[in-house]
Symmetry: C2
Subunit: 339 residues, 2 copies
């Protein structure tokens, strides 16, 4: 196998704010693994919350590639174990290599990734469209623009977030969920979730910081709205502990280690009676489409960042009015570069 690394810059249509930061553009790492004439595509979206930078990602991808370049690319479990043991602190690099391997072997087999996993392709499956934190006039403007979508996810976790929630709900009648991105204290969460409950949200995502395990357990007893764990659940080892304070988990490929780990997490979460959500970071169509291939296993999809970007260099799944479709039958991820 041969490795090629590139950097792409993704520019947001609107600056994107969550509880802990604001993003106007982001540089992601594209990983290309070639074997003969076939090339597999992978992507790394580093997140400083998990201690990742593009410099550490590039270093980890190179190190990982050197460890696996002579392995049989089909031995995904063995390769995952090697990468996990050696790049444990940079899961996003494992993800990029894992996705490129899946694209590569499924292109070799001339079958789509969803089919390789014994799954159906998703067809017009609902995804939430995200409204980032903003001023109230801007929130109203964004909500009116997003009226065409059946399902919104609203970012909270800031001082005036109850005003934001109200501004959205005054102008939107579809399904809704809220994401505090670990931005609340226990008391704040109890109070705010009781206010949000009247909007009958699908769920509240990560109300408290992941380190506040005790508080999360107390919170679960005080609220009736389902809680989805995001920052609290990185990989499969975090699912059983999270089942004590959450009703579901947010699986992100960029966070967990790739397609194979995400598939295993779905199997484990389902067996524990947890709901499954697929989320994303700032990602091009490579990462978003990779997640969408496993989409039939998810209860909730939140795979929309490629739509929030104005210069995605790739195209893959089809986003149409808040719904995602995987084009059936295309080998590998089915992602190609826009000319």
């Amino acid at each position: 196998m041969k490795l090629k690394i590139e950097t792409i810059r993704l520019d947001y249509i609107n600056p994107f704010r969550i509880s802990r930061n604001v993003t106007t553009s982001k540089e992601n790492i594209i990983v290309k693994l070639s074997d003969g004439n076939i090339t597999g595509l992978g992507e790394a979206s580093a997140d400083s919350f998990y201690g990742e930078t593009n410099a550490t990602v590039v270093q980890a991808v190179k190190k990982g590639f050197n460890l696996i370049k002579n392995e049989d690319p089909f031995e995904l479990d063995r390769i995952y174990d090697i990468l996990n043991k050696n790049l444990g602190s940079c899961r996003v690099a494992i993800t990029a290599l894992d996705i490129a391997l899946h694209d590569l072997i499924c292109k070799k087999l001339k079958m789509p990734v969803y089919k390789y996993y014994g799954l159906e392709p998703i067809k017009s499956k609902l995804t939430s469209f995200t409204i980032g934190i903003d001023t109230i006039p801007k929130i109203i403007e964004k909500t009116l623009e997003a009226k065409k979508y059946p399902y919104l996810k609203v970012k909270l976790g800031c001082k005036n977030d109850m005003d934001i929630a109200k501004a959205v709900m005054d102008n939107f009648k579809g399904k809704i969920c809220f994401d505090a991105n670990a931005g609340w204290t226990l008391n704040e969460a109890v109070k705010k979730i009781s206010i949000l409950a009247k909007y009958k949200p699908e769920f509240i995502e990560q109300p408290l910081p992941p380190v506040k395990v005790k508080d999360l357990k107390i919170l679960k007893k005080h609220v009736r709205v389902p809680i989805i764990a995001d920052e609290s659940v990185v990989d499969r080892n975090d699912i059983l502990p999270a089942s004590e304070f959450a009703d579901g988990i947010n699986i992100k490929l960029a966070k967990c280690g790739g397609i194979r780990e995400a598939f295993k997490m779905c199997v484990i979460a389902k067996s524990l009676g947890l709901k499954i959500m697929f989320g994303c970071r700032t990602e091009s169509s490579i990462l978003v489409t990779a997640a969408a291939h496993l989409g039939s296993m998810a209860d909730y999809l939140d795979l929309d960042t490629n739509v929030l970007i104005k210069n995605d260099p790739y195209k893959g799944d089809v986003f149409d009015n808040g719904r995602i479709t995987i084009i059936p039958g295309v080998p590998g991820l089915g992602v190609s570069k826009i000319k």
Copy 2:
């Protein structure tokens, strides 16, 4: 797809006795699924303990086939859900169809089943060789014959089973495990396991009936030898409850629903910190080899019934002095009929 059903009779070299029955021969159902020129092989080994007979199996296989014959055989999860919903009470029929589908699609892909699951083939991996319940002189004779094997599994759960254990251990110095096949009461189990502990067994399998959940939990607190749950764990839904009274689970393809269910059970069991054992019923090389393909995920193998049979019509994995090897690179299960 086309379906063909056959019956084969497997004759034991020695009558095989466990706590609840004795077997001299057994009729299994062979399922053949053809698509074009390619045929996939599956097998059903009915067990009356789970309410299965060959008549119910044949009926269920036909019913299941009619429900899936026009499906894409690659959509294994969708097919499993259809079969599970409709043949829920006859898991052994689901297993036969699932294994035939795996053989079929992996032959189409020209890849072995282990490779399709991203796994390595097992190479000379230790399996236990089973000593059934018998008279003490016969136990001694069998143990001496089995001296060439590094690892024995001894069936207990009868009146004089401590004499059997002693007779084996007086004549054997290798690794050992014991299987009571749900044959003890709580008091009996506590007493007997404390005697067996001095032989330092790898584990004790299913000491109590699966319905005795409370007793199993009490037992776990009283013994230090690891407990493996067999009859208590049918499919993935039983793993979390079993984690409260067992250190590991015995996965049998004939019991759980096939290769796909077994793979998922391994993922779940590992995430709960449970050990994984692969076991078998009275089976030809079709069922035994199907399990061996996932063998790299198991901590303990007990895949030996094809060796206890004198007229196995099929050949698949290679059993050599208590060790199993999967021949690498052969498409599908790699099982063929002996001419």
